[in-house]
């Protein structure tokens, strides 16, 4: 159980980093695209970045509290 939680957290951190980087990169590429849909996409990507960072921090243990076992 404990082991599993550790694996999960490590994977979460990895995924968080990857997504954060990718979404930041995508945001940079799309920065100048015109059109209503693209504006929305940019906002979404920004929030996606935030979410990825949160996932990383949660995996790292800075955010969120873990059951006493962990």
């Amino acid at each position: 159980m404990d082991q599993l939680a550790h694996i999960e957290r490590i994977l979460a951190m990895a995924g968080g980093i990857i997504v954060a980087v990718v979404s930041a990169y995508a945001l940079k590429n799309d920065w100048k695209t015109p059109g209503l849909d693209n504006q929305v996409f940019k906002v979404m990507l920004a929030l996606l970045f935030v979410g990825a960072v949160l996932a990383f921090l949660a995996g790292y243990g800075i955010l969120g509290t873990f059951p006493k076992a962990a």
């Binding site: 599993l4 939680a5 550790h6 999960e8 957290r9 994977l11 979460a12 951190m13 990895a14 995924g15 968080g16 990857i18 997504v19 990718v22 979404s23 995508a26 209503l36 849909d37 929305v40 996409f41 979404m44 990507l45 929030l47 996606l48 935030v50 979410g51 990825a52 949160l54 996932a55 990383f56 949660a58 995996g59 955010l63 969120g64 509290t65 873990f66 059951p67 962990a70």
Partner: protein, 209 residues
């Protein structure tokens, strides 16, 4: 075969004339309409989130006695998965715009798989809560009510989204969309991003605060 179907879809598209003026205007309308739909869906979620926060602060302490905090590790992993699917979805659309059908299809499939992974992750969490912590929808006070209602609603949106993406993939394989007429895909991407972004909020309010 896929590539061929894209080529023939492209061939259907005539550079000038009534159809495309009509298509452009139609697309504007449908884009705006779809965004309105998303807006009201956001309001639906926000109302339940308001209810959750209101109940949470109604002075019984949180989490209520007898209920442990939800498992952040699994949730974090799950979130990473869902956010990942957002990224792949984004690139699926990008590749379609640049006419790279195979890459588009690959990213689409990746997105669908990640979506399914997320759902299974949630299933695991639910079973854990139900069988190990005996937390249920109706039986565990306001925690069960707000947690299962909100995450369930979101899960349902993901479930619908997965099917939506599958349909879109099949449609694109059958050449419904062309290099310049792909509003369906745009809408799909919007919807999927919306599902991700809602999860950003749910994840933070349920697991992080």
């Amino acid at each position: 075969m896929a590539v061929a179907s894209l080529a023939q879809a492209g061939a259907e598209f005539a550079p000038h004339g009534e159809v495309d003026q009509l298509y452009a205007e139609t697309r504007d309308l449908r884009l705006l309409g779809f965004l309105m739909f998303l807006v009201s869906d956001v309001v639906l979620f926000s109302s339940f989130i308001f209810a959750y926060l209101y109940l949470r602060n109604s002075g019984q302490g949180w989490p209520p006695p007898g209920i442990g905090r939800p498992d952040v590790a699994l949730a974090a992993l799950n979130s990473a998965v869902l956010f990942g699917s957002g990224a792949t979805m984004h690139y699926a659309l990008e590749n379609w715009k640049h006419g790279k059908f195979t890459r588009y299809a690959a990213f689409m499939i990746a997105t669908i798989i990640l979506g399914i992974l997320f759902l299974s992750g949630q299933a695991v969490e639910y079973t854990k809560l139900y069988f190990q912590e005996h937390v249920s929808w109706a039986g565990s006070g306001i925690f069960g009510a707000s947690f299962f209602t909100l995450t369930g609603m979101h899960g349902f949106h993901v479930f619908v989204g997965v099917w939506y993406l599958i349909v879109l993939l099949l449609q694109s394989v059958h050449g419904v969309y062309s290099k310049d007429k792909y509003f369906g895909l745009t809408a799909g991407t919007l919807y999927w991003h919306f599902v991700d972004v809602i999860w950003v909020v749910l994840f933070s309010i349920f697991y992080l605060i």
